[in-house]
């Protein structure tokens, strides 16, 4: 098992390197540069533009820039944000907690909704409830995240103003105690987490339904029913226990789609996470910041994949042998 994990870890590191290298060159090949973004003022002289390129280290040949960046990253130095003039590591670390809070909350919503509605659909396949759940989950799954987010804001912040339209905290958070601060955070978390979680829950519903239907057709379930065990116990104890393991892998993978969905949600809900940071950094061609944010996202995706692989291997020894 340890060899399996080490092998997967090595593959993940190689993939991370390739992702960052590809991002580095794609960024530099994309039209525009920090100089064109920062120096929007047409009156800035060519000499001054050249000086700024020198200050940013953009005057060197691309392979040299790449080698310098790579050696710095190897030493744990992710450079300085062009736009904010702060160490990139600090800028990213400032944003990580917000993204993690949103992703975990959305994951809980997604899994809870996926599980409950998946079970309801599987218990009575072909029923009106099953059809309704299928239609709603397909609708949620097929709508763009930003649209769902804006509709939620219009409904719950404007037409029926019970939740804040955005941000992580209220304006007067500085004057709140820790308890009130936590409650304030939860109030702000509800809309983005529910919208993000529900948007992704559709696929979980389908997985739970299909997995549970497979299990419910097994001989031992029929035997349990024949013994007179209650239907609730049959589903929740006997069937679900065997239907869940494959879903753990689905859960790990769904973390990836939640992270990418968070990028949009963070912009719509003014949530101060990595997604918004990346969005702004791309627009301002803040190369070091884009690379560090990409590295964070790549590590999260690779970690989720690794976790899924390990869990799969634990559940099925044949995977380890391969």
């Amino acid at each position: 098992m340890i060899r399996f994990i080490l092998r997967r870890l090595a593959a993940s590191l190689l993939l991370l390197y390739l992702v960052l290298t590809a991002t580095f060159f794609l960024l530099h090949l994309a039209p525009g540069s920090p100089a064109t973004v920062i120096l929007e003022d047409q009156r800035i002289s060519a000499e001054q533009r050249e000086n700024l390129r020198r200050v940013y280290g953009l005057d060197r040949p691309l392979p040299v820039q790449y080698a310098r960046w790579l050696s710095a990253v190897a030493r744990g130095d992710w450079g300085t944000s062009f736009s904010q003039q702060r160490p990139v590591k600090r800028v990213v670390l400032d944003a990580v907690p917000a993204t993690m809070i949103l992703a975990v909350a959305a994951l809980l919503v997604e899994q809870a909704a996926g599980l409950v509605f998946g079970i309801v659909a599987a218990r009575r396949p072909g029923s009106a409830a099953d059809h309704a759940i299928r239609v709603v989950s397909l609708l949620l799954f097929s709508q763009p995240g930003f649209w769902l987010g804006l509709m939620a804001i219009l409904l719950f912040s404007l037409a029926w103003p019970i939740l804040p339209a955005g941000h992580m905290y209220s304006v007067g958070v500085d004057e709140m105690g820790s308890g009130a601060r936590l409650l304030d955070l939860l109030r702000h978390l509800i809309l983005p987490a529910v919208v993000l979680g529900l948007a992704e829950a559709g696929s979980v519903v389908r997985y739970v339904r299909s997995s549970l239907l497979d299990v419910l057709g097994q001989e031992y379930i029929r035997a349990a029913r024949a013994k007179g065990i209650s239907e609730r116990r049959v589903v929740w104890v006997h069937a679900l226990r065997n239907a869940l393991p494959p879903l753990i892998q689905v859960m790990a993978i769904s973390l990836i789609s939640l992270l990418s969905g968070a990028l949009v949600m963070e912009v719509v809900f003014s949530w101060p996470g990595i997604g918004r940071l990346t969005f702004d950094a791309i627009l301002s061609r803040d190369y070091p910041l884009v690379l560090a944010a990409t590295a964070f996202s790549a590590v999260m995706v690779l970690a989720a994949n690794l976790m899924a692989d390990v869990l799969h291997a634990l559940a099925d020894p044949r995977v380890r042998d391969e």
């Binding site: 525009g32 920062i38 160490p87 219009l154 719509v268």
Partner: protein, 554 residues
């Protein structure tokens, strides 16, 4: 009350989102004319205290504008922390702008206008109690011009040879030459605290934005109380500000709302009090909400089509003139802008500025004359496909505009349709802004819809100077007479003396049509009526933030 007013708005916004990009049609007239205020402003006059929440789509990048990206909100914020020597006034409609004393109580020129002496206010102190002195002014200039600090507006200081400390409250600027923008150049940038920020050597300034926030002393009306990245910056009243009765507000919160649609929703929900820029399509909803007030003002931005003269299609001034005659600019303005918030642009010096040549008018929309000029230049529809051609080549080009700017994208489509009537094929293409700038600076385009902002110096060299092809003269227009006249105008010690020269420049540009001017428009700010005396203007949205006040009953 709230839900009653929110319901129609909800419906309106729903339609807006579902029909993203479609204009809402004709809107109302002047701000507030048809909508009574829910309650009158307090009869007692300005009240002290209270909080105002300002919503902005970008976050401030730092407190040291010399090193961080000069976004609009960063500049606005820094102005509240570090006042300039003088404050430029928005009174440039009839004459060059005047300047009000700020950190300096007075100034005087030497007879040869090569030195300018400022006398600083005796009562100006930093927030730690240390007096603001001439050393601070000299230190600021040294920082602004240091190559390792690499301030992006350092070009404005290139003719200042020295800043001399005469005594603690007197400082003298020495110039290499006499020119029109001397005062503007001196005044650019707030005065920085040498006794604190001087402790960090200039070569270490870049990359250390946090250090400046952690070592912040200010001389302006507000100080920073807290800074949550991507969330909000909280400003509190600086009790040591030299205007003892100001500011009125206790606190100003600058909230960062990245998504414009979310920002406008927060304005309607009351979470945000002030939005510096709203879209024309939102005008009607704002005017219909009794809690909100719309503040329109003419902005110094003009939008035009740049013809790339490197392309032989656009090398001839007569052809460019024919293109302008073939574009119905009034219809474009009427379609894209509700009410009277935009007009057809006539000159790169916009009509709300003193130097605009009022003898000029827009070229008419005259497709017949356009066609006649083109035919006189050898363009004929020889194969009957509806498109003019010459030497076997059709009159066809790509018209670029940037993604995210619906008005310019829509204008491109209208231009395509109008030019088709003349026999010209324009193919609109929307590209990402950075890509557009890349094409502009590299000269790799046919034509593009682009916007330029003018400052009060009226210096058009960057946009039309022969040597500015990589800087702002993207169409590579070259006219030695324009170059000579610009040098002549900028060398005048008094800007108003250059008015006849500016007129001549505008007449030449009107004749040569290096660009087809489309429109100049008003900027629309929106504010909650509980906030009083806010006067956003073309210079700054938070121009007189220290004068803002809110009703005591809130």
């Amino acid at each position: 009350m709230r839900s009653r007013s929110a319901r129609p708005l909800f419906a309106a916004l729903l339609v807006l989102f579902l029909t993203a990009g479609c204009d809402g049609g004709k809107g109302g007239g002047e701000d507030g004319a048809a909508t009574p205020a829910p309650r009158p402003a307090s009869a007692l006059g300005p009240q002290r205290g209270g909080t105002v929440v300002i919503g902005w789509t970008a976050a401030p990048t730092g407190v040291n504008e010399l090193i961080t990206q000069a976004t609009a909100i960063t500049t606005e914020l820094v102005r509240q922390l570090f006042p300039q020597l003088l404050q430029e006034q928005p009174d440039f409609e009839e004459h060059p702008p005047t300047f009000r004393p700020l950190l300096a109580r007075s100034y005087e020129w030497s007879p040869d206008r090569k030195t300018l002496t400022f006398h600083l206010r005796e009562d100006a102190v930093w927030s730690d109690g240390v007096p603001v002195t001439a050393d601070d002014v000299r230190f600021t200039w040294q920082a602004e011009t240091h190559p390792d600090v690499a301030w992006d507006s350092a070009y404005m200081k290139e003719h200042i040879t020295d800043v001399e400390v005469v005594n603690p409250k007197t400082v003298r600027f020495h110039f290499a030459k006499v020119y029109a923008k001397q005062l503007e150049d001196v005044n650019e940038g707030g005065i920085l605290p040498s006794h604190v920020w001087g402790k960090l050597p200039f070569p270490q300034w870049r990359g250390n934005a946090d250090w400046f926030r952690e070592h912040l002393v200010v001389s302006g009306p507000f100080n920073v109380s807290s800074w949550d990245p991507q969330q909000q910056v909280v400003l509190v009243r600086n009790p040591r500000y030299f205007e003892k009765d100001l500011p009125h507000l206790d606190k100003v919160v600058i909230r960062n709302v990245a998504d414009p649609a979310s920002l406008i929703t927060q304005l309607f929900s009351g979470e945000v009090d002030f939005v510096p820029q709203v879209q024309p399509s939102e005008m009607k909803s704002i005017q219909e909400d009794p809690r909100l007030r719309l503040i329109p003002y003419w902005f110094r931005l003009y939008v035009c089509v740049i013809w790339n003269e490197r392309n032989p299609l656009f090398a001839d001034a007569d052809v460019r003139r024919a293109l302008t005659l073939g574009i119905d600019r009034q219809t474009i303005v009427d379609t894209l802008f509700p009410g009277d918030i935009a007009r057809v642009a006539v000159s790169p010096i916009v009509q709300s500025v003193w130097a605009f040549d009022r003898s000029l008018g827009p070229l008419p929309y005259d497709p017949r004359e356009s066609r006649r000029i083109l035919e006189s230049k050898g363009w004929k529809d020889s194969n009957g496909d509806g498109i003019l051609d010459k030497n076997g080549k059709p009159f066809s080009f790509v018209l670029l505009s940037n993604a995210g700017n619906q008005q310019r994208n829509d204008a491109s489509v209208m231009i395509q349709e109008q030019l088709k009537q003349v026999g010209i094929r324009a193919e609109p293409r929307v590209v990402e802004f950075n890509s557009l700038v890349n094409d502009a600076t590299g000269g790799t385009f046919d034509a593009m819809v682009f916007g330029f902002t003018m400052d009060t110096s009226m210096d058009l060299t960057a946009q039309f100077g022969s040597d500015s092809v990589e800087e702002g003269n993207f169409g590579a227009y070259k006219n030695p007479e324009i170059d000579r006249l610009m040098v002549e105008a900028m060398a005048k010690p008094q800007a108003q003396d250059a008015k006849p020269i500016f007129d001549r420049i505008q007449q030449i540009l009107h004749r040569d049509q290096p660009v087809t001017l489309l429109w100049e428009s008003q900027r629309l700010s929106a504010i909650n009526r509980r906030v009083h005396d806010a006067r956003p203007n073309v210079l700054f949205s938070l121009y007189n933030l220290e004068d803002w006040w809110v009703d005591a009953d809130r």
